[in-house]
């Protein structure tokens, strides 16, 4: 029992301080870019005009947007560089790569939501929702960088490419921005703040870099099994904490299926 208590209070380190710093960087740059960018897109709104006026006028807002964009670009490039070095030289596991399992996980989870199965999908280090957001940021970010630079230097682009690319870049930039903003506001904020599992705040990436073993059991059981060197079944079925976790998650005591 004492070992169980130990285990349940055990914290598992999930994120390196570098990732925490990267996340803060993302918050700041995304926040600034969204504020200065969307207030330009929705320039007719009173709030947008208030923002622009209080940030020193349209020219100032555009400069803030562009230079923040540069910082964002640098952060993305650094991230890609670190990923490439890590994957090639340091033998990091390619845990962010989207696999077939992610699709089946998503379907399994939907089944669970609809009550077809009585257990959510069992995920590895990153579940399909996190991968969706991650690749959204990376791919969307690169798209934003490309289109943003096009809009910043339209004459350079038009020197080599058709001029129509500039309004096209604008269409892509502004629509992609709206999409990203809505996904973050609705999906990401829900998952990291309002979701009953993390409420009031998912501190794993914001503060400590650690999560409780208990959360690992129902959020990333596959990874936990690997860390503890036991089989997945042991985590989900025989591990007392795991069972308890399921009871908590399901709101009733229930024998998890094999």
């Amino acid at each position: 029992m004492s070992s169980n208590i130990e285990k349940s209070e055990k914290k598992i380190r999930r994120f390196h301080p570098f990732r925490i710093m990267e996340h803060y960087m993302a918050i700041i740059t995304f926040g600034l870019l969204a504020t200065t960018g969307l207030s330009q897109r929705f320039h007719e709104f009173e709030l947008s005009q208030w923002i622009i006026m209080n940030l020193g006028g349209i020219t100032c807002v555009r400069l803030i947007h562009r230079y923040t964009g540069l910082v964002f670009t640098a952060a993305i490039l650094l991230h890609v560089l670190v990923a490439v070095i890590g994957l090639t030289l340091r033998n990091w596991p390619a845990s962010m790569v989207i696999t077939k399992k992610d699709f089946t996980d998503a379907i399994d989870n939907l089944k669970y939501y609809f009550g077809v199965t009585n257990r959510p999908s069992l995920c590895d280090r990153y579940d399909y929702k996190q991968k969706f957001e991650y690749w959204g940021v990376v791919v969307g970010g690169i798209l934003m960088i490309m289109t943003g630079l096009t809009l910043w230097f339209p004459t350079v682009v038009a020197r080599h490419l058709p001029g129509e690319l500039i309004p096209a870049a604008k269409a892509a930039h502004t629509n992609e921005a709206l999409l990203a903003f809505l996904v973050i506001i609705i999906w990401h904020i829900y998952n990291s703040v309002f979701s009953p599992e993390v409420f009031p705040l998912d501190t794993s990436i914001l503060v400590s870099g650690h999560v409780s073993r208990e959360r690992m059991v129902h959020e990333h059981p596959v990874e936990l099994a690997r860390i503890e060197g036991v089989s997945l079944e042991e985590i989900t079925a025989r591990d007392g904490d795991g069972e308890e976790a399921f009871e908590i998650l399901n709101g009733k005591k229930e024998t998890p299926p094999n």
């Binding site: 939501y113 269409a171 999409l179």
Partner: protein, 484 residues
């Protein structure tokens, strides 16, 4: 001719025959009253006339009552009519009435020497003026002579003033320049002010009063006339205070136009006028711009009579509060000015033009920037301190006075010109660059397929994505609630 003289001579001889005792009276016996009696003996006859050599005649009848009522009632006839006496009536011949009046006026100078006459500015202007000058009797009358302001009965004040000012009066300013003070009565009557009395405008002047003013130049006089117009047209006057013309004037450029330069003075006509004439008023000082305008799509339509709806000078520049078009304030108004017609469906439909032009501009980079520049300058009171270039408005691409049809036959020239326009703000712009401007059209599959497809894609994808995510969240919450 000869017969008239004959008649005149016979009348005279008839008179002499009738009253020989008066004609041949003792010279010493004459006294004033006696003299006058002798004269009036004949001249009280209303039918008495004098004929002129050049034709025509004039009455030489003297109304005794009027004479006795005049300021000269104390004088005898001979005091003015020198050379005449009860004993002597010289026969004089005159070419015409004018010569007769001239000689008659000479008599005045016996008592009113040149120096006295010259003390009145009105006399000076007559003396110094050009053209046919009135003589004393023209204004003052002869036997009825009174102070000019007091005696004559005039039907109106205008009548009174025109008594002198219908003549070729001139006035000399201190710098020597002369100005005609003749008022064309017909022109005045036809003007919009035709029913006003002179003193309604010429404040301080009346039948009792004739100010003596002292202007250095003719221009000073014209500028002072602003005050005249201001008294009734205060609203317009206030507007002019905001105009470039007033600014320039107050900076010391006295050639800047004032009310009368555009509207004229006594010939002033109503505001509703032929548009062509409005343009011509401005042409007086801005001939080069007028010429450019006349060749533009607007100007050529106006002058060829194709359309009277096209804007003339005042439609864009205003009539009284004419702004300095080089200011940011004016630049920021341009889309509004053009939009006044080009966003008006009713007007544009007649010419087959799109009303989307204004809106597409306002929703695009340039339009949005312009909107914020406007607000910034109002709210931040910052005079664009962060080195902002003026943002492109309608006129930067379409031209100012030389606006042409964009659907001109030489479309390639339009594009080439557009590149040049772009380069003003976007150095390094190449010939591909204008394609990035969607020519005031909303993107469609045919004119901008890429833009259209991207917009369409997101229009489907964003709601789809958000709907999916919200559904997932709701399912997640629902599952959690069910499990509890």
């Amino acid at each position: 001719m000869k017969s008239r003289l004959l008649v005149f001579a016979s009348i005279l001889s008839f008179v002499f025959l009738l009253q020989p005792e008066r004609l041949f009276a003792e010279p010493g016996a004459r006294d004033r009253a006696g003299d006058d009696e002798v004269c009036l003996g004949c001249h009280a006859d209303r039918s008495l006339t004098i004929s002129f050599e050049g034709g025509g005649s004039a009455s030489v009848y003297v109304n005794e009552k009027e004479l006795k009522g005049s300021i000269h009632k104390i004088l005898s006839c001979t005091a003015c009519h020198t050379g005449f006496s009860s004993a002597d009536h010289p026969r004089r011949k005159f070419k015409d009435r004018r010569e007769y009046s001239l000689l008659a006026s000479e008599g005045c100078r016996n008592c009113h020497p040149e120096t006295q006459i010259r003390t009145k500015s009105i006399h000076l202007s007559i003396i110094n003026g050009k053209g046919a000058k009135p003589v004393c009797v023209d204004c003052h009358g002869s036997h009825t002579v009174r102070k000019i302001a007091g005696g004559k009965s005039f039907v109106s004040e205008t009548h009174y003033c025109l008594n002198c000012h219908s003549h070729e009066l001139t006035v000399a300013f201190r710098d020597g320049e002369q100005m005609r003070f003749k008022v064309d009565a017909a022109e005045l009557a036809a003007s919009v002010h035709g029913k006003l009395g002179c003193s309604d405008c010429h404040f301080g002047f009346s039948m009792e009063q004739h100010l003596v003013r002292n202007f250095k130049t003719k221009r000073d006089y014209s500028i002072a006339a602003i005050e005249t117009c201001r008294r009734c047209h205060f609203d317009k006057y206030i507007k002019t205070l905001d105009s470039i013309h007033y600014t320039v004037l107050s900076q010391g450029n006295l050639t800047a136009p004032v009310c009368t330069d555009c509207h004229g003075a006594h010939s002033i006509s109503g505001a509703v006028q032929e548009k062509v004439n409005i343009a011509r008023r401005c042409q007086k000082c801005h001939p080069a711009i007028y010429d450019i305008y006349a060749r533009s799509v607007h100007g050529s339509a106006l002058f060829s009579g194709q359309s009277t709806e096209v804007p003339v000078c005042v439609d864009c520049h205003n009539s009284h509060n004419i702004m300095d078009p080089r200011t940011f304030d004016y630049r920021e108004k341009v889309p509004e000015i053009c939009g006044g017609c080009h966003a008006n469906r009713e007007i544009m439909a007649k010419y087959g033009l799109s009303t989307e032009v204004v809106n597409t501009y306002l929703q695009d980079f340039h339009g949005i920037t312009l909107k914020f520049y406007k607000r910034e300058r109002k709210l931040l009171e910052a005079d664009l301190r962060h080195g902002v270039k003026p943002i492109a408005v309608c006129t930067d691409c379409h031209g100012i006075h030389d606006i042409m049809k964009t659907s001109a036959p030489n479309a390639s020239l339009v594009k080439a010109n557009l590149v040049k326009r772009c380069q003003k703000c976007h150095p390094g712009a190449t010939e591909n660059f204008p394609e990035s401007w969607m020519s005031h059209y909303k993107p469609t599959l045919s004119n901008a397929p890429l833009v259209f497809l991207i917009n369409l894609l997101y229009k489907i994808f964003i709601p789809f994505m958000i709907f999916g995510l919200v559904l997932q969240i709701l399912l997640h919450i629902w599952r959690y609630a069910v499990n509890r």
